[in-house]
């Protein structure tokens, strides 16, 4: 099938598409705008005097361009997308419709506060849901994404410590943590020390306790952790951290496993970000936008950043500067008030699911992952025995001596019409396969995934190396040369060199 050669380079519905710059005709536009009225030119001397170089296309060409390109993308709307730690669940279109409502999409963040009371009420309502679900009293809504939330939470911790004259120096991060954890701690001015994992894939409580000392500011834990396991010593970890005068930061990337069933506040967590684009189903959009609100414990609540909404009488007020009684905000993390459009979508999702639906969703997410575990563990190598949470981790031991790598396996999955799982993360196991089906997959799609993975495992064990190394064969592109891209970076289109040089 792959050796069919077509004149156009297209392959049926699989369409090639040139860059917009290669479709340019000077003067063409897809937006009809009126002639500007006569006016005094007040631009001053720094006006534009040379062309920009943007290409001119008509509307049908533009529509076709992005539609043709879109066909080269896999998407959750098209099939299972079991990327561990990413929570690729169904994105309801109701959420999109709500975010586009007049009165929400067309309001400006600096309007008089009396003209946007509904927006403040919505933010307050979202914060209330997040506070109830986490069992934590305060919520900082403004962080733009998970990593930004990590920094926000750590800065609240540092501010609280400095307020008591005890800045401290070190943040402890388990070795299985997502790379953003140490990067965020570093941005907050801390030294990072790694904490080992046990053979059970959990934080080594004894090692952590041994390291706790007056120089430790915080411990960053991901719970459920990046191996898809619940940190069953969490309450004891928190107690030990608090006894040492430090705070517990929880990376909430995996909150989908426990929503409505476990409140992190009950486990002694002081700060935790929530990825609204994971747990609360706002779309990933090919890499954002996300939103990373941070829930805070009573001890940290006074140190939330600006701005925040407070209820006042019958209405709401936005606090935009320091000076409120009992509050010690350390500054502003983001322009305006946060990812409001994402808040609307997340609240729409939560209202749709309700407290009962969210509780059922986490149960189904966990059941689905365990079902895959049960179906795959006889053939693939399960990294840690026992029940998992919402994602299940395998490593590449089952591929030993086959000549097939985790990457090869993933690329063969592409030809089978599914998106591969997360590979090579977490780093603490070799050649990781991290599979997160989410609750929005039905049994048929779980069985499809399990069947094809078992089938591929069989082919790998039969040492069909060439089959794997050649994959994918049926995708819009074969394997791409990443070395070439990195050695000689081409990061933008450039006009072709003049013809004379080419001949």
């Amino acid at each position: 099938m792959t050796d069919v050669v077509t004149l156009t380079g297209n392959r049926g519905l699989d369409l090639e598409e040139k860059l917009i710059f290669e479709q340019d005709k000077a003067g063409r536009t897809a937006v009809d705008l009126p002639e500007p009225e006569r006016h005094d030119n007040r631009l001053g001397p720094a006006r534009r005097t040379r062309p920009i170089g943007l290409p001119g296309l008509s509307e049908p060409q533009v529509v076709r361009h992005y539609v043709r390109m879109s066909r080269n993308n896999y998407a959750i709307d098209a099939g299972i997308y079991p990327l561990g730690s990413c929570t690729m669940k169904h994105n309801p279109r109701l959420n999109e419709k709500m975010a586009r409502q007049p009165g929400l999409a067309d309001i400006h963040p600096l309007q008089p506060q009396g003209t946007v009371q509904g927006a403040f009420a919505l933010m307050h309502e979202l914060a209330h849901w997040l506070a109830e679900l986490t069992g934590m009293p305060a919520v900082a809504l403004s962080p733009a994404a998970g990593a930004h939330g990590e920094l926000t939470g750590l800065m609240a911790i540092r501010s609280a410590l400095e307020a008591r004259g005890d800045a401290r120096r070190v943040v402890l991060v388990p070795e299985s943590a997502h790379g953003t954890n140490p990067a965020s701690a570093h941005m907050c001015g801390y030294e990072i020390e790694s904490v080992a994992a046990t053979a059970r894939g959990r934080v080594d409580l004894a090692a952590m306790k041994a390291r706790l000392a007056p120089d430790v500011a915080a411990v960053m834990i991901t719970n459920p952790n990046t191996c898809g396991l619940f940190e069953d010593d969490m309450a004891e970890i928190s107690a030990a951290v608090h006894a040492a005068g430090a705070f517990v930061y929880c990376d909430g990337a995996n909150f989908n496993a426990i929503v409505g069933r476990v409140r992190p506040g009950d486990l002694g967590i002081d700060a935790m970000h929530l990825n609204l684009h994971k747990t609360f189903s706002t779309p990933h959009g090919g890499g954002g936008p996300g939103a990373g609100p941070v829930t805070l414990s009573k001890a940290l609540a006074p140190f939330a950043p600006l701005p925040y909404v407070v209820r006042e009488g019958e209405g709401f007020r936005l606090v935009e500067q320091a000076g409120e009684t009992g509050a010690h905000p350390y500054g502003r993390m983001k322009g305006f008030h946060g990812q409001f459009g994402v808040f609307v979508r997340a609240l729409s999702y939560m209202m749709s699911m309700g407290s009962d639906g969210l509780r059922q969703a986490s149960a189904d997410a966990v059941l689905n992952a365990n079902y895959l575990r049960a179906r795959l563990q006889g053939t693939m190598s399960l990294s840690y025995e026992g029940p998992c949470m919402h994602e299940v981790l395998f490593d590449d031991h089952f591929l030993a001596d086959t000549g097939v790598s985790t990457l090869d396996f993933a690329k063969a999955m592409i030809d089978e019409g599914v998106h591969p799982m997360t590979m090579y993360f977490p780093l603490i196991v070799h050649g990781a396969f991290l599979i997160e089906p989410t609750e929005t997959e039905g049994r048929a799609s779980l069985d499809l995934l399990a069947d094809l993975m078992l089938g591929l495992a069989k082919r790998a064990k039969a040492k069909e190396v060439a089959f794997f190394k050649d994959s994918p064969k049926l995708a819009p592109r074969r394997r791409l040369d990443e070395t070439r891209a990195a050695r000689n970076p081409v990061l933008r289109w450039m006009p072709p060199a003049p013809k004379a040089a080419a001949e």
Binding site: A46, V62, G103, D106, G286, P289, M353, R359, A374
Partner: protein, 448 residues
């Protein structure tokens, strides 16, 4: 519960496959005391009709720009979004895909990012651009940090013409890094000379064009002064449409451009989500934060795109990464690039010309209102007025009459009582003659 495919029968048989009696058995690692035995105290699930009613009721309490004469700007602008943009970004393949880590099945997103990077580089007059940041303010903070890495210096000068949110976000994000932030006083009169603040420790000077008061600046001399002392010039742009009419920052000698791209393709949406643009000189490529899309070929020799140079990022470098940014603004960047593709050179420059013409007309009309003084010599689509009385109560009064008149400058600079009478007013292609006349008449009455 319309989003959940499993039936009770599925659940029962799947539990049997797993070999446990109930889902609770899968949560056995959770301490008994922490495991809730009933739903949390929140409302139960709701159907579409109910959710729509509840959210639309909240929306109805707000006055939107579509329903009132509207003159706010200050880093967030009311522009027209072609129908095509919103249709295309809602295609499943863009809306519901993840970051393109498997490039063979993500070429749509990657090709769009490659075009986006090229467009951003072109309009800013810079050599290269990344695949987007969270927003303009966080891009500004990243630019300051990057300048410190490049120059191995620690002092950052923030102009008094910089949007105060950008100033505060920059100062806050680097608060616990050993950087020294010098924020210059608000420059309402346009007399600041940032060049005199540059010393041997200065990593960069951060300026904005047009500045937060709407003034158009030429920073070429400042760029030369920076180069002479080994510092970088960072130019912030909060109204990206201005680049259709103004000299690009690259031509002024900018080393880094940090901009807000909301004005193209993205609704105001109460301040977010928006899209940060980040462009630099190519020699600083390795110090640049954020994701990058690069061209390459596949094993058949066909052109394709991948995320590249990811060793700068936190997945690999962990605490040594250039930044902790992970998720960025993919879909907002897509809206931006589609809108700019629709416009093309002719449309983008026309759009900028209309914005300027509308603002110029409005400035003339407002300047004729007794007691109102136009502060700006130059502007693009936004300018500052000095009113005879504090602006905030006047704006509130006008809002009560259904006119959203602009941003009182004290809303941005709450500590600057001397700026209390200043009002920032913006006009775009959305502003009609009728809108202008209603504002002029109402302001005249209020000031009587």
């Amino acid at each position: 519960m319309r989003y959940l495919p499993l039936t009770d029968e599925d659940r029962t048989s799947m539990l049997a496959t797993v070999g446990v009696e109930s889902v609770d058995a899968l949560y056995r690692g959770v301490p008994k005391a922490a495991l809730l035995d009933r739903p949390v105290d929140l409302p139960p699930h709701g159907g579409e009709i109910e959710v729509e009613r509840r959210i639309c009721a909240l929306a109805a309490q707000n006055i939107g720009a579509s329903t009132a004469p509207f003159f706010l700007g200050a880093g967030n602008y009311f522009h027209h979004i072609p129908a095509t943009v919103d249709h295309l970004i809602q295609r499943s393949e863009y809306l519901t895909s993840y970051t393109p880590y498997q490039p063979e099945i993500s070429q749509g997103t990657l090709q769009a990012l490659f075009e986006f990077q090229t467009q951003v580089a072109l309009i800013t007059g810079m050599e290269i651009a990344n695949a987007s940041m969270y927003d303009g303010a966080t891009a500004c903070a990243e630019a300051a940090m990057m300048a410190c890495r490049v120059t191995r210096r620690h002092r950052v000068v923030l102009s008094g013409g910089l949007h105060p949110h950008y100033r505060d976000v920059t100062a806050t994000n680097v608060k616990f890094m050993s950087l020294d932030i010098s924020a210059l006083a608000p420059d309402a009169n346009g007399t600041e000379d940032a060049a005199v603040t540059i010393d041997d420790h200065t990593a960069c000077v951060v300026v904005q064009n047009p500045d937060v008061f709407g003034r158009v600046r030429d920073y070429s001399n400042l760029g030369a002064a920076c180069r002479a002392k080994g510092a970088l010039l960072v130019v912030v742009v909060t109204e990206i449409v201005s680049l259709g009419a103004l000299m690009p920052p690259g031509d002024m000698g900018a080393d880094i451009v940090a901009a807000e791209g909301q004005s193209l393709g993205n609704p105001m949406s109460f301040g977010g989500p928006h899209v940060g643009l980040f462009a630099v000189r190519e020699k600083f490529l390795r110090q640049m934060p954020g994701r990058l899309c690069g061209e390459t070929v596949d094993t058949d020799g066909k052109r394709g795109w991948v995320l590249t140079l990811s060793t700068r990022e936190q997945h690999i470098r962990r605490e040594k990464a250039t930044s902790n940014i992970c998720t960025n603004s993919g879909l907002c960047a897509l809206a931006f690039t589609i809108h700019l593709t629709l416009l093309g050179e002719a449309g983008f420059t026309r759009l900028a010309a209309i914005n300027h013409a509308r603002a110029s007309t409005l400035a003339k009309k407002l300047g004729a209102v007794p007691g109102v003084v136009l502060l700006n010599e130059t502007f693009f689509n936004e300018f500052t007025l000095r009113l005879p009385r504090p602006a905030s109560p006047i704006v509130d009064t006008l809002a009560a009459r259904g006119i959203l008149a602009g941003v009182p400058v004290v809303r941005l600079f709450p500590d600057q009582r001397d700026l209390a009478n200043l009002l920032l007013v913006s006009a775009t292609e959305m502003t009609t003659d009728d809108d202008m006349d209603r504002l002029v008449a109402a302001l005249g009455e209020v000031l009587k």
